[in-house]
């Protein structure tokens, strides 16, 4: 994860044209938070996936086009973000705890 580009994870090695990517970084007071849990909820609020953040606070989902909620769980914090994803592009989410 070292050397991640500003604005998010590198998509090197991923066929972005075929995927609908939602990714981002979790931070607290500007410092990345590793080991937080990020959940992807569909438009009906139903759980779709969950990943822990990397040491650099990053996470990534391969979703489908549409509206999603990104819910972040960390000790003492739960934060929701709405995001719209499109095929062939990368939706970046910045989560501040």
């Amino acid at each position: 994860m070292c050397g991640a580009t500003v604005g998010g994870l590198t998509t090197e090695g991923i066929d972005v044209a075929k995927e609908t990517i939602i990714q981002g970084v979790v931070s607290r007071s500007g410092e990345p938070v590793g080991g937080a849990y990020v959940r992807l909820l569909d438009k009906g609020g139903e759980f779709t996936a969950e990943v822990p953040t990397s040491a650099t606070g990053h996470f990534r989902f391969f979703a489908a086009p549409g509206s999603w909620t990104v819910r972040t769980l960390a000790p003492g914090s739960t934060v929701d973000h709405s995001v719209v994803a499109e095929k062939g592009s990368v939706a970046e989410v910045s989560v501040e705890l």
């Binding site: 849990y37 569909d42 779709t48 489908a64 960390a74 000790p75």
Partner: protein, 287 residues
């Protein structure tokens, strides 16, 4: 079986960290998570390397399972407590293996690794070695495992529960959304299967919902728990979680996990498939 027989909480685990007859085992989808840190005195089982045959697509057989547990230092009379990430998906999967091969005392840590982390409990990097044992497994218990033909003949007859996310059920996604979506097989679900995502059985912190909530969940979806039930997902780990809920927590006896799941069924020639949000009829189609 009931909840208190098969689930332990974090306080129980902390009180038994140094009990030589209690073996803590971490099982994660990300098999490197253990390397970073783990609960003190826990050992690791790698679901890909340790639990899968490395040539054919199948489980380790009885002799391989015996060799694995002997090597890991697990004895027949040990209490095995499994935990892991992803809301205990792969810990549930390993639990099902232990039951498939007849281990007597096996439990899940409710909430798994996530709840332990969210409560900021102790994690360590030290790796321990347990002295090897001479483990003896029983023959596979086929009453808890379904194969593809069992699923095909259950269409329109028995309960089939698809525990993947709604978008996977409908065919809009081919895999859980933390994995790349490029797959060769068809999307959709087994005709007449109802959609009850595994996640509805769990709270946000990964613990299982109450017995009352769990019973309501399946009954309100029209699942008659007095008849036979087959649960499936993509590769059989999330449906192991649902199998655990039905068979172990709620004590429903006639429940099987279809470990071939959608990666097998969705690649079969000559079977019906249903697309869309409705269960559909036995012939399959688009809803």
């Amino acid at each position: 079986m009931s909840r208190s027989d098969v689930l332990v909480d974090a306080d129980w685990v902390e009180a038994h960290l140094d009990d030589p007859k209690v073996v803590l085992v971490e099982v994660d989808e990300d098999t490197t998570a253990y390397d970073k840190n783990h609960i003190r005195n826990a050992i690791r089982i790698d679901w890909k390397q340790d639990l899968q045959d490395q040539v054919r697509r199948d489980f380790v057989n009885k002799a391989q399972f015996e060799a694995l547990l002997s090597r890991k230092g697990i004895a027949n009379d040990d209490t095995v407590v499994l935990y892991g990430g992803n809301n205990n998906w792969f810990a549930s999967y390993a639990y099902w293996y232990f039951k498939l091969y007849g281990h007597d005392s096996v439990k899940l840590l409710d909430g798994g690794r996530k709840k332990w982390e969210l409560e900021s409990r102790e994690l360590v990097g030290d790796v321990i070695d347990r002295a090897p044992t001479a483990y003896t497994a029983k023959e596979q218990d086929r009453s808890i495992r379904a194969f593809r033909d069992d699923v095909a003949t259950a269409i329109g007859v028995d309960n089939i529960v698809d525990v993947r996310s709604p978008d996977e059920y409908a065919g809009r996604l081919l895999a859980p959304a933390h994995l790349p979506q490029e797959q060769s097989q068809r999307g959709g679900h087994v005709p007449t299967a109802v959609s009850i995502p595994w996640s509805k059985a769990a709270n946000d912190d990964g613990t299982f919902r109450s017995d009352g909530e769990l019973t309501d969940l399946y009954q309100s979806a029209g699942v008659d728990l007095s008849t036979d039930t087959i649960a499936y997902c993509r590769i059989g780990e999330r449906s192991a979680h649902t199998w655990f809920v039905l068979h172990e927590i709620l004590g429903v006896t006639n429940v099987k996990n279809y470990d071939g799941s959608w990666t097998e069924y969705g690649s079969l020639v000559g079977v019906p498939v249903q697309l869309g949000d409705e269960p559909g009829g036995p012939e399959g189609g688009v809803s």
